[in-house]
Amino acid sequence: MIHQGEILAPLLDVRNLRTEFATDTGTVRAVDDASFSIMPGERIAVVGESGSGKSAMAMSILRLLVYPGRVVSGDVLLEGRNIAQLSERQLNQLRGRSVGTVFQDPMSSLDPVMRISKQMTAPIMRNLGMSYKQAYAEAVEWLRKVGIPDPERRITAFPFEMSGGMRQRVMIAMALSCRPKLLIADEPTTALDVTIQAQIVEILKTLTSEANTAMMFITHDLGLVARLADKVAVMYAGRIVEFATVGEIFSAPRHPYTQSLLRTIPSPTALNTSRLPQIPGLPPDMKKTLRGCAFRERCRAATEICAREAPELSHRGANHVAACWQPEGLGSSAIDAEPERALRRNDGPFRDRVIVEINNLNKHFTSSSFLSRASRNVIRAVNGVNLRVRQGETLGIVGESGCGKSTLARLLLGLERPCSGEIFTEGLTQMVFQDPASSFNPKMRIRNIIEEPLLVKGKGDWRTRQTRVEDLVKLVGLDPAHLDRFPGQLSGGQLQRIAVARALALEPSVVVADEPTSALDVSVRAQIINLLADLKQELGVAFVFISHDLLTVQYISDRIAVMYLGEVVEYGPADLVFNSPAHPYTKALIDAVPIPDPARESRRASAVLRGELPSPLNEISGCTFATRCPLATEQCRTEKPKLRQHRKSREAACHYAK
C-alpha cells in the first residue's frame, strides 16, 4: 500500500490511449481516449460489460494486440519509460519481467504439450539469471506459495493433468515468479467455481501485498471488485466513464452507468420482493462514430447537451473522476422507472401442487477401457436424489461444477435414462440452454426456430402456428419484426429471450434452465431474470433454475437445492437456505461469494473453503463432504448422513446441522 506522506510517481501512466480493430464491416474503436494511472502496489479493477474495451485496453498496454487490432495513438508510461517508443526487443524484456500477466481461461492458457517445469523455469532463468537448478527450486517454491499440494511432484505434470483451479494457480505462479512490478489479470477467476475463485482471490491478494506488486485486474463481477480493489475504473463503449476509490464507487457513484450497474446486481440483503432494476437497451455499435455521450440512449438523465458533445472526465472529489454532464449522474431521480411489482414469492393459487416428483434418482456413468477392464470406474453423477417441484415455483439448483446439476437437468428432460429411481412429471418439460448463440441453428430464421417444437408435435395449421409464434415473441418482450432475422443478427440477451419463447411454445408445466444467464452481461442478465419472474407469475410455469451464480439463484428461486458430488445436501426455502444455511457446504458456498459492498467485504472473515471437489471416482463411505468440511469428525468419515428435516420446512444431510 501507499505510505502516507511519500511522494510517488505512478508505476503505470496511460494517456489518451486509442485502440482500433479494422474489420471487414468497419473499424471498431475498442479503446477510445482512455487515461488512468496506477501507483506502486495499488490494485485497480477495470469493470464493464463485454465489448466495453477492458481486455483490449489491457492488451494495448503490453502491446500484445494481435492483427487486426492496433494502438492508434496515446502513451503508456511504465516507470517513466514510454512503452510506445520501445522496440519489439525492448518490449520483450519488459513483458514477463516488469509486467506479469494472468489470463481468463486456465484450461487453454498453458501450452498443452509442455511440462509445467519447463514453462515455469524458462522465464525465471531468462529474467532472473538463474541456473536451471536454481530456477527449478524457485518454481517449486512458487507453486507451494500459490497453494499447489505436493509441488515437487506436480511440477513435472503436463497442464492436462491438472484441474482448472490448479492451472490458474500455475498461471499466477508463473506470472509472479519473475517478480514483476505490475500484474495484469484479465478475468482471472471467471472460469472457476465460486469456492476456487475465493481461494484464487486470497492468493492474489496475499502475494501481491507481500511483494508490493501493483495489480490491474479486469472483471465484470462487482463483488470481486469490492473484495480486491483499491480503485475502480468503469468502462463503457471503449471509454473510461468513471475512476474512483472502491469506497466511493460503491457508496457515491456519479456516472449514470455505474449507478445503474450497481443496482442491477441482486443483493443478498434485500428482501427481493421486487423486480431487479435493469438498464434498458443495448450498448452502442462501436463501429459507428459516436456523437455525444455513448450512454445517453440508455440514460434517464440525458439532456440535449449529451447528444451534442461527449463529456470529458472531470473531478468529483480528490480521487474521483466521472465523465457526465450531470454533476450527480442520475441523482435523486435514480429510482427505477419500472413499476414496482411484487413478483417473486409464489402466493398464487397453484401453491403446493407438486408437478415434478423425483424419488431416489440415480445416474451412474461407468467408464472402462480396452486394457483396464478390471479397474472399472464408476462416476456417481446423480446419487439418490429426492426432489419436488411445485406448480409455478422456481427451484434453484446450485453447486460446484461436477456436482451433477446438469446431469439432473438432462434426466429431468429425459435426455438421459436414470439407472434407478423415478421421475414423475405432470405436463411437458422444456429446456433453456446456457449459450443461446450455439443452441440455435444459425441458418434458420427466428420464426422457424420458435415454430419448430409446434411442428414436431404437429400442433395446429400454418396460420395458427404463426399467430402462436407472434404471441410468444411478444410474451418474451420482443418486437415481432425480429422474427424474420437470423440468430447471428440478434444480441445475446435477445437470443436468450427467443430460447425462452421456444421453450414455452408447447405450454410446458416445467422449464429447465441450465445456467441461462451466465453467458450474459450484468445489465442484460437482469432483463432475463425479470422476464422469467414475470412468466412464472403470468403463466404459472415452474422453473428449475440451475446456476453457479448464488446471488442470482437466491434472488429468483422460491426453493433452493444445494448439490455436492451428485447428492442433495440441503433443500429448503431460498431465504432460509441463504441466510441461515444448515449444511456446512452451503455455508462455505455462500461465504465464498463476493458481495458487491466493500464495507461488508472488509468485515467478512476470509473463511475460504480449502481443497477441491474430490474425484467422483473414489467411493466415499461416509459423508461426501467430510474431506473438506471444517466440522468433520470420525462419525462423518464412517457414517453417511441422511437428508433429514431441520427446523421447519428444510432438509439437510449433515450429522451436525444446526
Binding site: G96, T101, S108, S109, D111, F160, M171
Partner: protein
C-alpha cells in the same frame, strides 16, 4: 507409452490378418485363374484341369488359404508364373528403389513445405496478406497438376530438351551418381504434389495454434516471435501435420507406380504393372500385400509418433 505401443502393435497384427484375408479372397473373386493365365491358349480342358490339380487350385478354399498364409509366414513367396523367377528375389531387388524414392520424397517435401507453410501462417497472422496469398496460391496451382502430367513435362524439359538428367538407363547400387541422376526427377515430381498438400495443411495448423491462448501467454511472458513460433506454435501444430504426412503416404505410393512407369525405373511399381499385364496372379497377390503392409506400418509409426508428440493422446 509402453502399453500404448503394445496396443498399437496388436492392432497392427489384426490389420495384417485382415489384409491377407482380403487380398486372398479378392483374388479368387476375379474371373479366370492362375492356371488359365499360365496356359494361355495352349492347353485343352483336361490338361488345364491337370494343371489346376498340380497348382492346388482344386483344393478346398480353406486349404488354399492355409497354404497361402503358410507361404507368407515362412517368406517362401513362390515363383512368378510367367518368368518362373522367385517372387521374393524380384521384390528384394525392386523394393529398395521404390522405398528410396518414397523416403527421399517425404523428406524433401517436409523440408520445403513446413517452413513455407509456417511462413505463410505467420504472415497471415500478422496481417501481411501478400506473401500468404502467393504461397497458398502457388500451392493450389501445383496441387491441380496431376503427377503423370508433371512427370511428362519434366521429362520433356529436363531430360529430352535440356539433357540434364538421363531419361533411361540401368540402375545399379554400385553407382551412386547414376542413381541420384536417375531418381532426381521422379523424386522432384512426386514431392511437388506432397509439398502442395503439406504446405497448406501446415499453414492451417500453425495459423490456428497462433491464435491459441497459450501462444498469447508465451508472448506475454516476453518470448520473441521466433521462439513462440518454434517452441510453442510449431510443436502444437505438429500433430495434424504428422497425421497428414502419414495419410498422404498412400497417395505417394500411387504416385511411385506412375513415375516409375514414365521414367522407366525398375521399382516395385514397374514389377506390379508387368505382373498385372501378364496376369501373374502369384506376383500381384504378393505385391498387393506388400503395398498394404507398407501403409499399415506407416500408420503404426504415425500413431507412435503422435503419442510421443502429445502426451494427451489416449488409446
Amino acid at each position: 507409452m509402453l502399453a500404448y505401443s503394445l496396443k498399437k502393435l496388436l492392432q497392427l497384427v489384426v490389420t495384417t490378418i485382415g489384409v491377407v484375408t482380403l487380398v486372398f479372397f479378392a483374388m479368387r473373386l476375379i474371373p479366370g485363374d492362375a492356371a488359365a493365365a499360365m496356359a494361355g491358349d495352349t492347353l485343352s480342358g483336361a490338361a488345364l484341369e491337370r494343371l489346376r490339380d498340380q497348382m492346388g487350385l482344386n483344393d478346398p478354399l480353406i486349404v488354399q488359404f492355409w497354404t497361402f498364409v503358410r507361404s507368407l509366414l515362412v517368406l517362401d513367396l513362390g515363383r512368378t508364373l510367367t518368368t518362373n523367377l522367385p517372387v521374393s528375389d524380384l521384390i528384394m531387388s525392386a523394393a529398395p528403389i521404390t522405398l528410396l524414392i518414397a523416403i527421399a520424397t517425404i523428406i524433401l517435401a517436409i523440408a520445403i513445405a513446413i517452413p513455407l507453410g509456417t511462413m505463410a501462417a505467420f504472415m497471415a497472422h500478422k496481417g501481411h496478406k501478400t506473401l500468404d496469398n502467393m504461397i497458398t496460391g502457388l500451392a493450389m496451382i501445383i496441387d491441380l497438376m496431376p503427377s503423370f502430367w508433371t512427370a511428362l513435362v519434366f521429362l520433356l524439359i529436363f531430360s529430352l530438351t535440356l539433357g540434364w538428367f538421363p531419361a533411361s538407363g540401368p540402375i545399379s547400387w554400385d553407382d551412386p551418381y547414376t542413381i541420384v541422376m536417375r531418381l532426381a526427377l521422379p523424386i522432384l515430381v512426386l514431392s511437388l504434389s506432397q509439398v502442395a498438400i503439406l504446405a497448406r495443411m501446415t499453414r492451417t495448423a500453425v495459423l490456428e495454434v497462433l491464435s491459441e491462448d497459450y501462444v498469447r501467454t508465451a508472448r506475454a511472458m516476453g518470448w520473441s516471435e521466433l521462439r513462440v513460433l518454434f517452441r510453442h506454435a510449431l510443436k502444437n501444430a505438429a500433430l495434424p501435420i504428422v497425421t497428414v504426412v502419414g495419410l498422404s503416404f498412400g497417395n505417394l505410393l500411387n504416385g511411385t507406380i506412375i513415375v516409375e512407369a514414365i521414367f522407366t525405373i525398375p521399382g516395385v511399381g514397374t514389377v506390379l504393372i508387368n505382373g498385372i499385364n501378364s496376369r501373374d496372379y502369384q506376383l500381384v497377390q504378393v505385391l498387393m500385400i506388400f503395398y498394404a503392409m507398407l501403409f499399415v506400418f506407416i500408420n503404426f509409426a504415425t500413431d507412435i509418433l503422435y503419442r510421443a508428440l502429445d502426451p494427451r493422446v489416449k488409446f
